[in-house]
Amino acid sequence: MNRVSVALCVLIVVGGAFLLAALNLGTAPGSPFHVPPYVVSLVGKYLCYAILALAVDLVWGFAGILSLGHAAFFALGGYAMGMYLMRQIGTRGVYANPVLPDFMVFLNWKALPWYWHGFDNPMFASLMVVLVPGVLALLFGWLAFRSRVSGVYLSIITQALTYALLLAFFRNDMGFGGNNGLTDFKEMFSFPLQAEATRDGLLIASAIALAVSLLAAYGIVTSRFGKVLIAVRDAESRTRFIGYRPEQYKLWVWVVSAIMAGIGGALYVPQVGIINPSEFSPANSIEAVIWVAVGGRGTLIGAVLGAVLVSAGKTWLTGALPEVWLFALGALFIFVTLFLPTGILGVLRRRTRAPVSVPAPEPAE
């Protein structure tokens, strides 16, 4: 990973998004160059996944924190955005209630719960997209890193966190639409969500968000802060004995990563048109980890690559051979961990150049 390859990746992502958008809007449906709108949404979705993968790589690849609950931050950002989109529906809902979303009318609620107030304001909602995952991560990370919970224990409690949120959001009483989640969105920032131009705009926004995240992550890991992080990853106790406070370094990178995941989720929801509690399921978080493992842990670009490749593979396989998808995903997990510990990027690097700084296997217990 160097400056050139990151710049190249940013260029490909943003340029590719603009190209797709142009091909979608600028050509007639019959033309061989035409990109159908579903492809635009699909690619937009992959880019959001890539942001999540980047967030996972930031904590796993550079701080050694294997999070099995990162999809929780992704989903929380998504819910914050979903709440804004829900409020934008207004009187066009099935029950035409100007204030209450349909599911609340259906559940016979009389007033908006306090935590729904303010979400009609796009600025407030955007703030919440950042704040909600950030504050949860701050709280969780502060508790966890302060008491030096690390390794597998941390992985398991992050999984418990997302599982608890999954159960909580399934409850109708929580006021987030229960099982069905939030859906049936109409418009965003007063652009109709069904329009092709809006979808192209969302794709470009996702690409820019991914590019900014990538640059930010690159900035972090190459800074002095990043060097300490890598030291924490490779020898936490030694770093502590030298005089650093590993828990603080871990906490900040953890919060930044959670915010990144939240932004990814917020861009994901308008493109897929629904957010429901299944986004919290532990399997989703683990899938995000496998994207990073496939692409190459601790390489940033590898995370983006892995997310896009695996998701594209999933789209293709679940359509063509739905029976085979879980076999393929499971085999991918096993294959990558056993035979490809440095991921695709690691293999490419080994072919072309001298070995780079990919994380060493954790020290034995």
Binding site: I156, L167, I290, L326, G330, E362, A364
Partner: protein
Amino acid sequence: MKFVLGLLVFLAVFAATPAPAQDDPFVGLASENFDDVSAAIAALALSGNPQAAPTINALQNDALFAAPDGAILIQTDDGFLDARTSQKVADVDQDDLNPVRVNNSVRRAIDAALGSLNLFSASATARAKAAGEVFISHDPAALPALARALAVEKDAAVRSVMEQARAAARLADPTTSEPDMLAAIAVVRARGDLDARNLLASLANQPPAVTAAAAAALAAIDRSEQLWSLAQSVFYGLSLGSVLLLAAAGLAITFGVMGVINMAHGEMVMLGAYTTFVVQQAIPPAMSGWSLPLAVPLAFLVSGAVGIAIERCMIRFLYGRPLETLLATWGLSLVLQQAVRSGFGASNRQVGTPDWMSGAAQWGGLTITWNRLTIIIFAVVVVAALMAALRYTSLGLRMRAVTQNRRMAAAMGIRTPWIDALTFGLGSGVAGIAGVALSQIDNVSPNLGQGYIIDSFMVVVFGGVGNLWGTVVSAFTLGIVNKFLEPFAGAVLGKIFVLVLLILFIQRKPRGLFPLKGRAVES
């Protein structure tokens, strides 16, 4: 003496009933007047006449007719019987007969009469059941019948139910004297269940002494009810705890002792459950009671063999890399789930419960279902066997040696790779056994294991890794805490609460309840 008393009551009742039924209750049945019919039914029920039951039953089925000559006839499939004598009556022209008509009040009389008739049934359970029904209806009209039944009742258990019924009926009777009321309240209070509570709560317009006694009885019932529900919560908690213990026991070996993060542990449980299903399909129905005892060793072998295969083909390459192990075994769990889904279908499979495990016992206010009790006992036995195997067998000795100091063990001539595989197989096999038990209380589907994996890890981590006793304590603690939270918070919120408590607990004590002492700086 008893007989004389019974006779007196008998006569008193007869004196109170309306005229037509004075000597022969069958006469009243022919009446056009519904009140007379009702009275006749009541009198018939009390008469002790062996023909009372068939007659009233026939009336209930609209098969009772009055002949012009005053005979009462029961219509059967092959002709008519005389209700008084049960002799067959020949040459009856149905056109001459008047059906005995019923309206709602007559139907009530029929129901009451059948109820009190059962008080004299030959079977003790039927008598107790009838008395129980009187308790619920607490109809004062049943008092005379109860008195007669009590006079001849020999079975102590049935007697006490009848006394409760009499007390209930007396409470509802406005003519009962105050001392009798107080005595009745005492009897009902001693019964102490929800029906008794409702009965006492419905008392109104009573003398102050009676009201006070009823209030005191209500409070006493509420208190004991609370105690029983506490006991019930403990039982449910133990039951949930035993399920958690079974699911986590294998993990306590693979994760706790070996340090391998096996995310496919839940799938080992699932394989055990499917083994049970296959065993039940394979054995003849006559032997269905043996299906579970047969499934236990088979499930152990199946899951254990799969476990050894996993260790040999995958995990041994990943020792010392816990996070990679986690990912690889997660992938394996996806493969196993999909394999079972392809092989057995995605829907739930029906696993039967043997007769000896179905049903429930009532002990005071406590309901104990046999399958839950069996699973509690089974869990304890499995864990005890596991501990004994680790402690007393030569294999267990070698397992402990390898996990404590691998190099030293190898130097002593122990084949450590083989011991690793066997240890992993043992943990997986125990998971398979857990699957047999879980097949009795959970849906046997490809997703069975997924529901337990997070809970199992929580149990092991909470109890302290590497400590089987810690796992036992933590499983039962979590089970009971969960069940105590449920009434206040609801099932889902209670579970969330427990998860959050666990997350906070791990922050406080990252090594669990009973950490193994050591001086390692790194985890």
